[in-house]
């Protein structure tokens, strides 16, 4: 099972900066192993973020997003104590959801 995400959500004036680190190989499908065989692509395809349960953004990624991905975005209208939750799903169907509180 994939490790937990590190999510930080910090209120700056009327915007909340959300920074997310995800634990994932993001294998490109371009690399070869030591025996010369192509390592199959394994990467996060879908990302979704919610504020208090309501989806505020989604994303689709290709295999060129770096290993252990980082993502940052700005949410409007959040208050301290609100819940930010982030989910991802990869091309093999694995998924993960974590959440944090706006501070």
């Amino acid at each position: 099972m994939a490790g937990p995400m590190r999510i930080r959500a910090k209120l700056n004036g009327d915007k909340t900066t959300v920074r997310v680190l995800m634990s994932h190989e993001m294998e490109s499908g371009q690399r070869k192993d030591s025996s010369g065989k192509l390592i199959p692509a394994h990467f996060i395809q879908d990302v979704s973020a919610s504020l208090n349960g309501k989806v505020v953004m989604t994303a689709e990624w290709g295999p060129a997003v770096s290993k252990n991905p980082f993502m940052q975005f700005e949410v409007k209208g959040a208050a301290k104590g609100d819940k930010i939750s982030v989910s991802w799903k990869d091309n093999k169907g694995d998924s993960r959801t974590d959440e944090t509180t706006v501070s």
């Binding site: 490109s28 989806v55 505020v56 953004m57 689709e60 290709g62 060129a64 940052q72």
Partner: protein
């Protein structure tokens, strides 16, 4: 103040919720495979049903002039325009140009950052796909350098 431990415990609960409610509304529309297979900006825009891309001052691309390592290149796509539907990040010389696509709602700014792999020095693009189908972009060059030792 929530500790990491609590976060971990809660995540299991939340995971259950995701399974039942489905936090991936975009999956109603399938993953944009065609866009993620396209070789250049024009083809990505076409695959997403947008018009021919035009350069715009209202879109900006952030990134380093030189990346010390092509495995991790921090890139930021933003726009000051109203009516942005999607923000894209592209690396022109990658095997497939499109790196990431961020879908907007009214609750977020058109301002997204991530980190991309780059095989070589290349132009990188931020593209705003507007609700009316226009594709507006900004670009900059990022040089990827060779690292030390090489052994």
């Amino acid at each position: 103040m929530q500790t990491r431990r609590e976060t971990l415990k809660q995540s299991a609960v939340v995971a259950g919720l995701v399974a039942s409610t489905g936090l991936f509304p975009q999956q109603a529309a399938a993953y944009e495979q065609a866009a993620f297979s396209a070789k250049n900006l024009a083809d990505v825009a076409k695959a997403l049903g947008a018009s021919a891309p035009q350069e715009s001052n209202a879109v900006s691309i952030g990134g380093p002039d030189i990346a010390e390592n092509g495995a991790v290149v921090p890139l930021k796509a933003s726009s000051t325009l109203a009516g942005v539907k999607r923000m894209l990040i592209l690396v022109e010389k990658n095997p497939a140009a499109l790196v990431a696509m961020f879908n907007m709602t009214d609750a977020v700014e058109a301002d997204f950052s991530t980190r991309a792999k780059m095989g070589q020095s290349s132009d990188v693009f931020a593209v705003a796909i507007m609700s009316d189908g226009r594709a507006l972009y900004a670009k900059k060059e990022v040089k990827v350098t060779l690292g030390g030792c090489g052994g």
